[in-house]
Symmetry: C2
Subunit: 164 residues, 2 copies
């Protein structure tokens, strides 16, 4: 038996699949951005939708601090932690998607995906002070629980979405 | 009637009192720090305790990313969002405490306060790879719901704790 005949190892990793499942199962998380005035990391509650490739869609009000911050510096992360309120939360899975967020202009396409996740958003989609942003996921930190964790490259995360 | 005879307006504001109540009612939140390698804002789940003056105590593992990040740059924020998982979460109160976190050496004092909030932590308090940090709250963003929000100065936040 030659090792040369083995199929190429899939780039999809168990951690990446777990991260994908956590993202697909959630609709709200904590966005971290950089304050415009002094570059502090600033967390805030957001709703989101997940694109087919794993990138994240946000619909942000121009009245919100995080929108101002992203306009100045697109670096961001999104924490998805569905067990946040449980007593044993530290032993439960959560994920941080790290990347750059930028405003997107193809409003129709993003609106369709976003409203599927958040039907109530339909009533303010047309407001001029709401803008879609896409968080381009560059790397992912997945924490399964105490001592079980790892970084996932953006490529491996996207591969998990590309494969059924 | 002279305006000069009016009592000085209390620095304690309704927003600051609401922020205090949210902080005192929670034990877990999302910490935002700055990645050591490239300064991205990085969110992660943490447990915490609240000091009598409103500052925050964290017990961080030296194995955790956020601990490494704080060692390099203490700028941080903590989001407390107890309604994160509720359908109408965007209409519910949440707060972001912004400040600088630094390691503290008075381990006995912080351990007492921390274990009151997290009795289970008693079993790993003695581990050398856990370190207490104090988040010195410099400003606070309180969001009551859609369109009801404001910044609170650190002084007003602390005044809310100082007054019964």
């Amino acid at each position: 038996m030659s090792v040369d005949n083995r199929p190429a190892a899939p780039r999809r990793t168990p951690l990446a699949v777990a991260a994908k499942e956590l993202a697909l199962g959630a609709r709200r998380g904590i966005l971290a951005t950089l304050t415009a005035e002094d570059g502090f990391p600033y967390g805030s509650l957001v709703e989101f939708a997940v694109l087919p490739d794993g990138d994240i869609v946000l619909l942000l009000s121009r009245l919100a601090e995080h929108q101002h911050y992203l306009e100045r510096d697109g670096r961001a992360s999104l924490v998805i932690a569905p067990s946040l309120l449980e007593e044993n939360a530290m032993a439960k899975p959560r994920v941080t998607l790290v990347g750059r967020a930028e405003p997107v202009t193809d409003r129709g396409r993003y609106a369709e995906i976003y409203v599927q996740a958040h039907p109530g958003a339909a009533r303010y989609l047309g407001f001029a002070d709401f803008q879609f942003y896409r968080l381009h996921v560059e790397r992912v930190r997945y924490i399964a629980g105490f001592g079980q964790m790892g970084w996932i490259k953006g490529e491996a995360y996207r591969d998990a979405f590309a494969q059924a």
